[in-house]
């Protein structure tokens, strides 16, 4: 693995303040390396989107960042904490360094402006010196990159199909050659044909441009196929992190295991699906100890009282970069 571009350290994100605060992301640390696709999976409501918005500070009210830092390693080796940036710095940092494709990419385009306007105004904001021509050329180039013909520049978003809009957003995210691209479930609403088209293009581009991707979804089968490393979230915490193959072949955390046995496979023999019994935890009243313990098939005595810490498991001679937070696998 190459060096880190984005380091999330002990990030805490809350909804609301004071007594009503809901701690949606708790003490999350995560490192995104250059050129890799890091997959983030987890149940609905486990805090994936919250993490993504939190680390770019785009979380709408009542979201607040209660603590932690997000260190960005710039190309020239300097580092900066996103959490301490002023509005100006933040604006300059966004899109040029870190671009984000939102969960509801369908709604991410302003319905009243043309695609061209929306693509060029980001370029203009970050490169005021550029000419209108050059900006338009760049927009054209990006559209071509995601496989949309340039004459679509003058379309309004509603004139595009869902898949095209999704691709416009992706093209727009890449327009300024950012070093990090965060994608939050960019394909949920799409059928598999279009989904495959889009993801295929991202992979191809990543190889050419060398950016890193943080890819968020709850669709594990997709993630296993698509990413280099996978982090599993449960109840606002990362519970396991491992290379995609390792996770798929041998997950350590019972929750990851449950997830992997919940989706039907299209090919091969029809296997028995076990699922995960119980329901997701209530963020307001988190279980003590390991948040997963009320649903865990392998629960044993420390789980209910002590919180497992994410770390490299002692018991597995796993490849580097595998961490887990489970009492089954005590950490170093």
């Amino acid at each position: 693995m190459s060096d880190a571009v984005l380091e999330v350290r002990n990030l805490d994100v809350n909804y609301g303040i004071g007594d009503e605060a809901v701690n949606a992301v708790h003490d999350v640390s995560l490192t995104l390396h250059r050129g890799e696709v890091l997959g983030l999976a987890g149940e609905s409501g486990s805090g994936k989107s919250t993490l993504a918005y939190g680390l770019t500070r785009l979380l709408p009210p009542p979201g607040v960042i209660a603590g932690g830092e997000v260190i960005y390693h710039a190309e020239n080796g300097e580092t900066a904490d996103v959490m301490r940036m002023t509005d100006r710095e933040l604006r300059a940092f966004r899109w040029a360094e870190t671009a984000i494709v939102f969960q509801g990419a369908m709604n991410s385009l302003n319905p009243v402006h043309k695609i061209a306007t929306q693509m060029t105004d980001a370029i203009k904001a970050h490169d005021p010196g550029s000419t209108a021509r050059s900006r338009l050329d760049r927009a054209r180039e990006m559209l071509a990159l995601v496989g949309i013909s340039a004459d679509r520049l003058d379309s309004y978003p509603h004139q595009l199909s869902g898949g095209m809009r999704q691709r416009v957003m992706i093209g727009m995210a890449l327009a300024l050659d950012p070093r990090v691209v965060i994608m939050d479930e960019p394909t949920t609403a799409l059928d598999v044909v279009i989904q495959r088209q889009i993801l295929g293009q991202i992979i191809a581009l990543r190889e050419r441009l060398g950016f890193s991707v943080l890819f968020i979804t709850h669709d594990l089968s997709l993630l296993v196929e698509f990413s280099d490393r996978i982090a599993i979230m449960y109840g606002g915490r990362i519970v396991e992190e491992a290379p995609a193959v390792d996770l798929y072949r041998s997950s350590l955390h019972p929750y990851s295991d449950g997830l992997l046995h919940s989706f039907p496979a299209l090919h091969g023999p029809r296997r028995e699906l076990t699922g995960i019994p119980g329901s997701p935890p209530d963020l307001r009243a988190m279980p003590t100890g390991c948040a997963f313990h009320p649903r865990c098939p392998k629960v044993f005595e420390p789980c209910a009282t002590d919180l497992p810490v994410l770390g490299v498991p002692r018991d597995v001679t796993a490849p580097a970069g595998r961490t887990v937070a489970c009492w089954l696998h005590p950490t170093h």
Partner: protein, 326 residues
């Protein structure tokens, strides 16, 4: 039936119904223009005048209401609005013609300006939700709950008088003659200040409130967050992304309010003795000047319908989703 024909039929029906109501309702008022004139003069005209006035106004023929109605449509279709009783024998068209520009200038301009300022303030209030801008809302609601006439009269009492440059009444200085000269325009502007400010204060809060609520709603739309994520300057996000979309529902309200320019602010015109249409309408109602009333009602009807049409057009311009595909 095609959509366009349907629309046209709908507009025509509305116009017909409104005009018919406008024809019959005034005629249900007890008495007639002559009695009303005599009564209003309170002995200044001798009661012997009654007969001559009936003859003069042509009310001595005893036409039935229905035949009057038919005649009225005949006139209307010829573009003839009839003769006013109050200003007998001036043509209704002439009366309206000389009042309408004043109303359009004063109320029209202030409606537009009020909409613009209100929208701008509402944009800010919505954008800076939770800042001191929030205070704008209760203050403006307070101001807009005050009846126009009260505000106007207080303004006259406070800001006009021997020592003030602001005139208390009229559309322009008695000494000048309407023409496109600096003197007249300056005088007209000066006379417009107080009524305009009164209308502005009263009408702005509606725009502020609705714009603010829309802004709060729109500011949490994904595309606004995306605009932030793109690192666009704040002003651009606010104006081009949030406000531009928040504006849409306000547009139809604005168009409707354009239709109310003529009938809506009658009291301001009365209080400020402004030579506009609202004042004439009020007078016409008082004197049972049916032709003038009908003429003005007609103008109002047409302008509301026109405004509806404009609203459709504006919506189409502002919201590409409603434009013709392809």
């Amino acid at each position: 039936m095609s959509y366009l024909l349907k629309r046209i039929a709908f507009y025509l029906f509305t116009a017909w119904a409104a005009i018919t109501i406008n024809f019959f309702i005034p005629r249900l008022i007890p008495g007639d223009p002559v009695q009303s004139l005599i009564t209003r003069m309170r002995g200044q005209i001798t009661s012997d005048a009654v007969q001559s006035l009936y003859v003069l106004f042509g009310l001595n023929k005893g036409d039935s209401l229905v035949s009057q109605y038919v005649k009225y449509w005949g006139q209307l279709l010829r573009g003839d609005l009839g003769v006013s009783f109050t200003f007998f024998p001036s043509q209704v068209g002439e009366v309206i013609g000389q009042s309408l520009p004043w109303t359009l200038a004063l109320v029209g301009l202030t409606t537009v300006i009020g909409f613009l300022i209100g929208t701008a303030l509402g944009t800010l209030a919505g954008w800076r939700r939770g800042s001191w801008m929030d205070a704008v809302i209760p203050v403006t609601t307070f101001l807009s709950s005050i009846p126009y006439f009260w505000l106007g009269l207080i303004a006259i009492a406070l800001f006009t008088g021997p020592d003030s440059v602001l005139p208390a009444a009229g559309g322009f200085d008695p000494g000048v003659v309407p023409s496109w000269t600096g003197g007249f325009i300056g005088s007209a502007l000066l006379h417009g200040i107080l009524p305009a400010v009164t209308i502005l204060i009263s009408c702005m809060s509606g725009w502020i409130l609705s714009m603010r609520n829309m802004m709060v709603t729109v500011a949490s739309e994904d595309y606004v967050t995306v605009a932030h994520a793109k690192g666009l300057p704040e002003r651009r996000v606010m104006v081009r992304y949030a406000a531009r979309n928040a504006l849409l529902p306000n547009v139809s309200g604005f168009a409707l309010s354009l239709g109310f320019i003529v009938g809506g602010t009658l009291l301001v015109e009365i209080v400020f003795s402004y030579p506009g249409l609202g004042y004439q309408l009020f007078q016409a109602v008082g004197t049972k000047d049916y032709p003038l009333m009908q003429g003005i009602f007609l103008i109002i009807t047409l302008s509301v319908l026109l405004a509806n049409f404009v609203a459709d057009l504006a919506y189409m311009l502002l919201d590409p989703r409603t434009r013709r595909e392809g």
